[in-house]
Structures are given as structure tokens and as C-alpha cells.
Amino acid sequence: MKTAETRKATRLFETTGLLLLISSSAVFLYLIDPAKSMRGFQCPFYALSGFYCSGCGSLRSLHQLLHGNLGAAMALNPLMVLSLPFLGYAYVSFVLFGLTGRSLPEIFIKPFWIWTLLGIIVAFGILRNIPLYPFSWLAP
């Protein structure tokens, strides 16, 4: 049986671990531009299929965002940039839960919105591969 104390210790451990993971990734992505330094390391999905998936360009986009270039970040992966506020909310909720045992109310509760989100992610993955004007803007 887990006592309340060990549960609290686990939560604090997870919260600190996640903070370390995010901050070290941020430092790494600030210093290294994946568009230049990681050229030989293509995403296996892209290397195998030749298609951009929904996550393509997200690391390059984060690098631009960390340097304050919102436009360049949007050009590489708009979906990732637009999802950041929601991911940030989830992170704040997770940290609050780790420190106090209470979390913020969940945003995505209605199944309709989760299915819509799934539709957007899949549609984005398909549309960004179409090499025509309005869609080519979505490509990384």
C-alpha cells in the first residue's frame, strides 16, 4: 500500500524530473539549430516514406521560437506552435498537482473536441504534403 507521504514524494520526483527534461531540451534546442546541425539525422518516417507527418519541423520550429522568431516558427510547424498554449496549460496543471495534489480543470472533456482535434492533426498531416499554394504553406 502506498502511503500519502510516498505518493507526495513520487509526485515531487516526477515534477522535478519533467522540469529538468524540459529545461535541458530547451537549452539544447536553443544552442543547436536542427535545420543546420542535424541535417544527416532525418525523421525515420520522412526518410522511409518521403511524406511530412504532422510533427515534421517541430524541433526546427522550437529552435526558431526560442530565438523569438514567431514567424519562422509558424512557417515550420503551425500546429505545434498553436498547441503550445494547451501544452503549457497541461504543464501548469501537472506542476500544481505535483506540489499541491490538486490540478486545474481539464480542457478537453467533451469527446467531440477530442475527435475534432484528431481530425485536425490527421488533416494537417495530409494537407501539408500537397505541393500547391495554400497547402504548401503548411509544409515545413
Partner: protein, 121 residues
Amino acid sequence: MYCPKCGTPNADTALRCVSCGNTLQPLQTFPMTGQTTQHVPNYLVQAILTTLFCCLPFGIVAIVYAAQVNSKLTAGNYAGAVEASNKAKTWCWVSFGVGLGVGLIYLLIFIGGGLSHLSNM
């Protein structure tokens, strides 16, 4: 009714699961409101993170199960929601594991390349 432990469908009157032997409690004893207020994690955030950063279709599978969790909760199917929740969790880990594995392979190639570059100097 579905077994909350293994997800196998059982007769509504069954006292034990036909598949795993888990003791079952008839659903009728829980009022509908009691079921929907119980929290079942849908792992949606983790699923989206692995979809965007592990660059793999497995993340999409995780999102499908995440959506099923809330669909089933809304329908009052608590056991089904738990089952979908476990599957969402599994696929998040699969996606994350594959992404991490590829990252480690790249890191090894990177270090290997650096070493051979040094030995050529």
C-alpha cells in the same frame, strides 16, 4: 458488462469474470452520476506530445484511444473507458519508446562519426 481488470465482456449478472476470474460488481448498484464523476485519465496530452515530437503514427493510435476514453465515459461505460485508457497509455509508451530508440541510435551514429573524424585527423 465489461471486466474492469481485463476488459472481457461478461453477462450483467456475472459475479466473476469468465476470462481472468476477477470479482465483478453488478453495474446496477452504481448510479449513473457516480460512474461519470470517477476520473479516468485519457493521456491526451502525452499522446499529442508523442505525435508531434516522436514523429510517429503510433501517437495517432494513442489519440484515438484517448478520444474513446471520454466517449465511453460520456456513454456511462466506465469499464470500457478504463480499457481505452490503458490502451492509450500503452501506445503513448510505444510511440515514446520508438522515438527515444531512434534518438539514441542517431546519438550513437553522431558520436561514432565524431570519433572517426578525430581518428582521421
